[in-house]
Symmetry: C2
Subunit: 333 residues, 2 copies
């Protein structure tokens, strides 16, 4: 381990943590299918596999990490509940995991978040605490709930158990591929804080060391690609925008980057138009509903941008939580 990560050595997850997460998640998470995109593979010249994580509980991989994190809590901790702040997939993942485990959950969400996301989170039985994005700090509100209730804050990515839970995504994909005699040249997944890709890299390094693992990010939000080149964590420009609403974290996490710096082959970048095209291809060829962030890795493959893709590539389609009106607009464009 390099100097920056030395002080994290006690908290970094290992592949053993991914295996333990898989045991906890067994029968609770969906073992999402590894779908082969036959026609796209013919066009690309290699076998293309899509890990359809949009079919996961709550519509994204976030359920895995959240459930693993909450499962590891003591009875006393569970009684005091959990707190999270998120307007998106992490909120739903934590709320659903908490409901299944009988743990109280308070989710701090902006008052102007899309109504459907607030309703979905409430639909899993969570208490939604609304705040004003312009005058209040969600961190302060969450800290207040933690202090007042003794609740546990569930971070979206910079947590060893969250990373380990997300890693089960790649573990399943590598197992399912091995069962049909396939080992991946490359595994590619979108990155925001880097929890999914870090967990996948742990699984890849242990189970399929020849597989090169890449992040995929939208142009402008490519802080992982730049950080991996620089060898240390860099943020992206705060004014950068993308339709990939789940890939907006401003900088790689500490724990996640300590893993990713050691294990990843690099970072790939796609444009919003390329993501829209991948959403349309997923609709037409795969019959899957992907949200923009969930289509980013597929977009990289469709653009011929996966280095070292020779025989078989796995792209993780990480989520499918997209508004109907926006999806219709993408189909019509």
């Amino acid at each position: 381990l390099t100097r920056e990560t030395a002080d994290l050595s006690g908290v970094l997850p290992s592949f053993g943590d991914v295996e333990r997460a898989a045991a906890r998640l067994n029968r609770w998470s969906v073992r999402t299918p590894l779908l082969e995109a036959h026609k796209l593979g013919v066009r690309l010249g290699y076998r293309l596999f899509v890990k359809a994580e949009c079919l996961q509980r709550t519509g994204s991989f976030k359920f895995r990490g959240a459930f693993n994190r909450l499962s590891a809590m003591s009875e006393a901790e569970r009684r005091r509940g959990v707190v999270a702040f998120s307007s998106g997939n992490h909120a739903q993942g934590v709320a659903c995991a908490a409901q299944l485990l009988g743990v109280g959950a308070a989710i701090v969400m902006p008052a102007d978040a899309p109504h459907i996301k607030i309703e979905n989170t409430r639909g899993y039985g969570a208490e939604v605490v609304l705040y004003d994005r312009f005058t209040e700090s969600r961190e302060d509100i969450a800290d207040g709930l933690v202090a007042e209730r003794g609740a546990t804050l569930i971070r979206p990515f910079d947590d060893a158990l969250i990373v380990a839970g997300q890693g089960t995504t790649a573990m399943e994909a590598i197992e399912d591929a091995a069962a049909i005699g396939i080992s991946f040249d490359v595994l590619a997944a979108p990155a925001s804080g880097g929890g999914l890709i870090a967990g996948c890299a742990l699984a890849g390094a242990a189970m399929s060391p020849k597989t090169r693992v890449y992040t995929v990010e939208p142009a402008g939000l490519d802080d992982h690609a730049r950080s991996l080149r620089a060898g240390h964590r860099l943020g992206h420009a705060p004014e950068a925008q993308s339709i990939c609403d789940a890939l907006q974290a401003t900088m790689p996490g500490e724990i996640t980057f300590a893993i990713n710096r050691e294990l990843l082959a690099g970072g790939l970048v796609v444009s919003d138009d390329e993501v829209r095209d991948a959403m349309r291809v997923a609709f037409a060829e795969l019959k899957l509903v992907l949200e923009p962030s969930g289509a980013a890795a597929l977009a990289a493959a469709l653009q011929g941008r996966i280095p070292g893709a020779n025989s078989a590539v796995c792209v993780i389609a990480s989520g499918g939580n997209v508004d109907a009106a926006f999806f219709a607009e993408v189909l019509d464009s």
Copy 2:
């Protein structure tokens, strides 16, 4: 067997034929996932499972029957090729199966069929023979090709091997449910000529005899529901219309109805608006792209129209081949 079916006794498929189809299809067809619709199940008061057959090769279950039928051909027959007429899912199923097995395929399609369907069929390497719907008979053209080439006509449903292949859909669903301790009260699938439901009924009767099997049809095209009540085959009014373009066969098949009359519990009916609603629910809750016909059985469940649904129901989401513009229109409505 009753009088009408007595002369078919030699050609009716058995559950053994479904098992043999499963062996032939192994590794060629997708073992499509049995997805639990958790939130919908809470609303409906029973566990709802969706067999996501839209994720099958070619986007519908039709690949199963076609591949099974072609696999059973002799080498001499394979050399002379196959012929089918269809503008929809059967065309793609036959073309893809033929390509995988190295068999030449000629598909007779109307010259004014949607361009995308013609292109998809050609994309599987099939020869597309266009005809004028208003002045020519597709049956005559297909018969001509059969006579001229010694090719084999692949019927869409009234064929024991086609029925047996489609039955593997329910076989997998019942197996996957048993693996998690579930047996279905009811299995419901859309019906056009009745091949899918007949195969599923064979699997259900052998593997899960307490499961009641129902057809689902669009209002006006409910010839199975009426035929099952009457005890003999009835057609639907020729002027009847529905957005369910894959459920337009005018009368139950002979072979299929001989099975269905003995094994089915009855026929359910849904409106086009109910089908549109089910397509939107599949989009939002399941992240699946369903064509109208593929959403019919889900629609019956969402309308509370499944008799005897107490603990667990399986609906077959039979296909996802839908134009982007139409899908966008459904999302926006």
